[in-house]
Amino acid sequence: MHVDHVLFMQQVSAFLGPYYLTLALLNAIAAAVLTYQLKNARAGLISVGVSFFFVILSAFAWNGLPPGLPQSVRDMANVALTGNRGAVIYTLGTTALLIALFFTRKYWVRPAVAWGALNAALLLMGLSMISPAFFNIVSKADNVPIVSLVFLLGFFTWLATSKAVANDERAKQGLPPLEKLDDEKILVWPDLVYTELICMVVVTVVLLVWAIGLKAPLEFCAERAKTPNPSKAPWYFLGLQEMLVYYDPWMAGVVLPSLVLFGLMAIPYIDFNKKGCGYYTIAQRKFAYCMFQIGFLELWVTLIVLGTFLRGPNWNFFGPFEDWDTHKVLALNNVNLSDYFWIDVLGASVPRVTSDMTGGDAVITVLKREGLGIVLLLIYFIGLPPVLASTVFRKMFVRMGFIRYMVMCNLLLFMTALPLKMVLRWTVNLKYIIYIPEIFLNF
């Protein structure tokens, strides 16, 4: 872990020099396009300036002096993202950011703003590289695809949103969506087949370069008594692995993933909105759009990023610039809701099932012990849908009918149960709402 500092700086410089130079080149191309093709001299000039800035950074990096974030900023980021209370700020912060992006989408989809944000993100990544911990995470062969996927995802989300915003603007003016204007048919041969051929060649080249440039992340021989620390799932399952921290294996490994699958299958049958077919739109399908983005961006992608950047040895939280210390001590004592209720509120001891109890007595004891949790859960899954139907989802309930509404509402509640439990775990160390280890039923 503790690489010699000089060696490390050489390594980072060797990476950052070409990295900044590439960024400079990208901006130079952008400047050329802006000036000559789009006839926007002012924007072109700014782009030239940015390009020049990256050239200077590159020169510093080549000479072994890559600029980076100051230690104080890195420390602040570490504390903010993973402080004592887990990733509360990270989770709530990403949620708030996504909401903010949603409401200010008209501003963010402008190409100039998006280009600026991309440059800023890449610059931030470059500046973060001088932290050995961050560099280790990003340059690990396992994580390279994750980092590139994050950028790709950002690009495609931007692309879709910008098209949707454009279409919504047109809809306001009573114009048909852009996709309907360009309704001409394209021939399979040669148009499609040639496109596919080009894609095939590009993908082959990328895979070849990747295979040659990055070593396969092979590890030591598998051994029963030696588990890699941390043991991370493949990147696409990091969300599942994170979920397993908060729910029982049968719940997080079986029930919730199945619900995700069945929920996705159920979408066409739940959906009653006939608009937005065959073109991008947000305004015409606000609810569907928001739900999907919460499920995908919030509950899948941010968990992948969390698993990649913030989880370290012993599955503890580590800041992105924090060294992975196997012996990091965190107070993670988890307490069940029944413990809170019986010990802290009632000041009594928690009733326990003993081996000399009869079956009926045991059931009564368990019900008595977990009563509060059971009631809370019933309220959440059975009491909440009618309340929502008469308030927030009133119009939807009328249009969907009872069964479709209940299916939708329960899927929604299961979806929100995960971040709720995560935040409860981090803030009040809540382990289980219902805890019945006698029959392996915990929730």
Binding site: T227, P249, L332
Partner: protein, 392 residues
């Protein structure tokens, strides 16, 4: 044959012409005369039949029934067919219009049909038949056989016009056309079907009434016995096959079951000695047997009583192997962060229950002996069982 295909202009023309000429013939007496002898003689007499209907489409079918003639016919047919497998519209129109010029090429063949030896000569005409629509050839046959009585050839335009106007001078689709060959074969019955505009159907000749049912019955009878034999043969083969398969699978299952009881066990024994209690000082965790046996030997207090226990090194969450962290005095799982106290009680992370204990006892020689075949779970209250600890 049965599928409905759009007819080509050529086919429509040909069919229309056939309908025309048929109507004029009023049952086509000459063709009747020509056909019966062939049928009467014997259905198996392939050369005769193929010759009797020189322009008959089913020629290949009958030829197939009797392989020997086929082999003779083939070489002869090929060169003759060379000019064109499928007559073009032009050819057909020309032939139809010329009437006489088309007839001679076919007529000699029709006459030759009487003599069985003329099989080779007859072939040139039938050859194109299978490739082009059978009906076309049938029509041609009908026409060419009676060139004298044939109606004056109609112009293409008038025929097409009639067809398009829905007058249906001929069959419109191939499926309608399909029966045509059969009609020629058993010409007594079918032509009426083909020609709705034709006159009243002639009475069925006696020979046709008598012979065909008998032949049919015989055929069915023979087929029944054949099917019966076939069923028996296949059935027994099936039975034999399935029996063999069942036996094979049974043996496989037995062989697989045998794998459950290997001759040699390469894994360490479930019951093994781990040294003297003095080797495990109070408050320590012995990791010596973790790698080989997945066991930690712990000398710790449980419920205020110091004891030596054997803890299973399998996380109760999802089965990873936790690590013992000496500095923190806890077991910590690297997969999802479950933490356990020294005595095995879970206190952090997702693990729902404490680590399991194995049976441990003091052997006669004073050494500790662990038995991994028996486990004790705290949440079931089994840790009070004296078999799972050695008091110190």
């Amino acid at each position: 044959m049965a599928e409905k295909k759009k007819l080509s202009v050529a086919e429509i023309l040909a069919a229309a012409r056939k309908a025309d000429s048929g109507g004029n013939e009023g049952g086509g007496a000459p063709s009747e005369k020509a056909a019966p002898p062939a049928e009467e003689s014997s259905p198996a007499a392939a050369p005769a039949q193929s010759a009797s209907a020189p322009s008959e489409p089913p020629a290949p079918a009958t030829a197939a029934k009797s392989p020997p003639p086929k082999s003779i016919e083939k070489p002869a047919a090929k060169p003759a067919a060379a000019p064109g497998d499928r007559p073009s519209v032009k050819d057909m129109l020309a032939m139809a219009r010329a009437g006489k010029s088309a007839a001679p090429t076919v007529k000699p063949a029709a006459e030759a049909a009487a003599e069985e030896s003329a099989a080779e000569k007859a072939k040139p005409a039938p050859k194109p038949a299978p490739k082009s629509a059978p009906g076309v050839q049938a029509a041609k046959a009908a026409k060419s056989e009676s060139p004298a009585e044939a109606a004056a050839p109609r112009s293409t335009a008038s025929i097409l016009e009639a067809v398009r106007a829905g007058k249906r001078l001929g069959p419109i689709s191939k499926s309608e056309l399909a029966p045509a060959p059969a009609a020629v074969e058993a010409e007594v019955v079918k032509p009426a079907k083909m020609k709705p505009a034709a006159g009243p159907m002639p009475a069925k000749p006696d020979y046709a009434k008598k012979t065909s049912p008998a032949v049919k019955d015989e055929a069915i009878e023979s087929r029944r016995t054949a099917v019966g034999f076939l069923g028996f043969a296949v059935g027994s083969f099936l039975a034999a096959g399935f029996s063999a398969m069942t036996a094979t699978f049974g043996l496989w299952t037995l062989g697989f079951a045998r794998f459950m009881f290997p001759n040699i066990l390469t894994e360490p024994p479930n019951r093994f000695k781990v040294g003297f209690p003095a080797d495990i000082p109070p408050g320590t965790v012995n990791e010596k047997f973790k790698t080989q046996s997945g066991v930690w030997l712990v000398n710790a207090e449980y419920n205020g009583k110091p004891q030596i226990i054997a803890l299973s090194a399998i996380c109760t969450h999802l089965g990873c192997t936790p690590n013992w962290l000496e500095a923190e005095q806890k077991f910590k799982c690297p997969c999802h962060g479950s933490g356990f106290y020294k005595e095995g009680i879970n206190f952090e992370g997702p693990a729902p229950r404490p680590l399991e204990r194995f049976a441990i006892r003091l052997a006669d020689d004073g050494q500790l002996e662990v038995d991994k075949s028996r486990t004790f779970q705290e949440e079931k209250g089994e840790w009070s069982n004296p078999d799972c600890f050695v008091p110190v």
